[in-house]
Symmetry: C2
Subunit: 325 residues, 2 copies
């Protein structure tokens, strides 16, 4: 899905919209992007079941350099799967099939098979069917690149917006996840840390269960753009994220900070220990937290939503400053 | 779609098949690949219309180096679109939507917009809806890479096999198209030729029209693997391709030959002037040719199918040799 924080995006969306003349696709306002006045198309599929279909494409980015060097192919697959599934969650989409495109810098049958083994495992357990894909050998790339196009069903489309009085629940990240690697390479140069190849966590199952049981007002996958990504979920609201919770940044984030990345840059580039954020009504927050903790033990209430002007305010974990976006 | 001529393919297919436990996808023998005993999954979509859905992913490969250098973005899009649509033709699939994944070596808003303008134009005129995509900046790649996942409908699935007595009609290529560029770079090194950025021709409209009117027994998109790709279409048959037709190789192919690429390598790496081959009953061949020529004036009868043992025999355009696969 196009990242609406990127330049040229308005024009890209417009150009995609120029193609919406098909009788097979129905274009419906996509409420997640309602604040951007975007429209995204859904197939009119499964008419008897009353379900919409959503397609979504994402890849692993420059983190693939490290996965290729370290041959951490299973983690590379988890990264790309997570980038897709976690993003699709924002529209409450349940994934059911995918296609893949794998670029390797050299012909390496073992690598391809290990990648497909990981994909097959992770898809089988989520009942996602791999309908096909392509492997491309390109000796002009340093590292691997995997991208996936995932399709999912949406049963009950709903707006993705926080409400005044919501408590914010954060889900622990697994470290850097799959964004900010251009910055990581700038800071670390040729140095390697095992944390560079840790996989992104998939939040799908937890979130869909909570959505069904308690209703989630708004949610965001914290990737490129960091915590600035939740600004569109705050019409006439502010989000406050405190630092008195259990989701402390992993050591790798402290190291980035010590090497000169500012507080402000940290929270707009990295997840700083929190991979996914949801806003739930205060009355459900404790129950929701218990339900998650049964599964992971790795979520906590990290803040709250108040009336305001669309600002995100974060008490930094790295200093005594408060970061504002 | 996985190239069945690549190593590890059997294992890749097996791993994909492990995921076929979904109630949303029906796995149907895909007759195109029947000789390989492959099965490919189709969504059970549009049940009221009785249509199958096919997904297909492909990218532009290392040709993207030249497109990036020359900023021939429109041609880059045509290449990737053609690689997908021409391949999907083998299953008589009519495309209706796509997702894209664009990798650029640097953040270049103008390039992204030009790429999307081309995609929007080419998709609009074919009623293909762009349902989304992703742009990724990766400074570890030399050149651009565009990949697309295209979905299409199949109304009447049928086997893709030649029959004894078929005449082979070739469709003129636009030059190198999008394969064999690793070889091209090996031969030409840092030299550049304008032919390196000429786009792949899309055969979709012509082929679907001929299929409807005359019935095509077998067809093949001549890409990586060259003319060896038609071997699976020849159960108990041989294909003979002569050199007394109008589809002569473009000068760039003669130059590759002169620089040391053998006859055998030429026909198994490059299209040598013929981008698509169909086999039609002899009685329809002339009419079919007339119908194509109305559109392009660039197709000709290039050979015939006889009882045999699965061999492809080609009278070389580069020498007086006969190449056999």
């Amino acid at each position: 899905m196009y990242n609406t924080t990127k330049p040229s995006t308005a024009r890209i969306i417009e150009l995609a919209e120029n193609t919406y003349g098909s009788k097979y696709i129905k274009v419906k306002r996509c409420e997640v992007y309602a604040t951007f006045k975007r429209r995204f198309p859904y197939s009119i599929l499964w008419p008897l079941l009353g379900v919409h279909e959503l397609d979504h494409t994402d890849g692993g980015g420059t983190k693939g350099i490290y996965h290729w060097q370290q041959r951490t192919f299973y983690n590379a697959v988890l990264d790309v799967l997570a980038m897709n599934l976690n993003d699709m969650l924002l529209e409450r989409a349940r994934p059911y099939k995918l296609q893949n495109h794998i670029i390797l810098p050299e012909d390496d049958g073992k690598a391809v098979v290990q990648i497909m083994e990981a994909m097959s495992d992770e898809c089988s357990k989520r009942k996602i069917v791999i309908t096909g894909g392509e492997t491309s050998i390109q000796n002009n790339i340093k590292g691997l690149d995997i991208s996936m196009t995932v399709s999912g069903f949406i049963r009950h489309p709903k707006p993705n917006q926080f409400q005044a009085g919501d408590l914010l629940i954060g889900f622990k990240s697994n470290g850097l996840h799959s964004n900010g690697f251009t910055k990581v390479r700038e800071v670390f140069g040729d140095e390697f840390r095992p944390e560079f190849v840790e996989p992104t966590r998939v939040y799908l199952e937890d979130i869909l269960r909570l959505e069904k049981k308690y209703g989630i007002h708004g949610m965001m996958h914290i990737t490129g753009g960091g915590f600035t990504k939740i600004k569109p979920l705050l019409p006439g609201l502010d989000a406050h994220i405190y630092n008195n919770h259990m989701l402390s940044p992993q050591p790798i984030f402290h190291e980035l900070y010590k090497r000169g990345v500012s507080d402000e840059e940290m929270y707009k580039t990295f997840n700083c220990g929190i991979g996914f954020v949801i806003g739930v009504p205060e009355k459900h927050a404790e129950d929701a937290l218990d339900a998650i903790e049964t599964a992971h033990g790795e979520a906590d209430i990290i803040g709250e939503v108040t009336p305001g002007t669309g600002k995100v305010k974060i008490n930094s974990e790295f200093s005594d400053r408060t970061v504002k976006y």
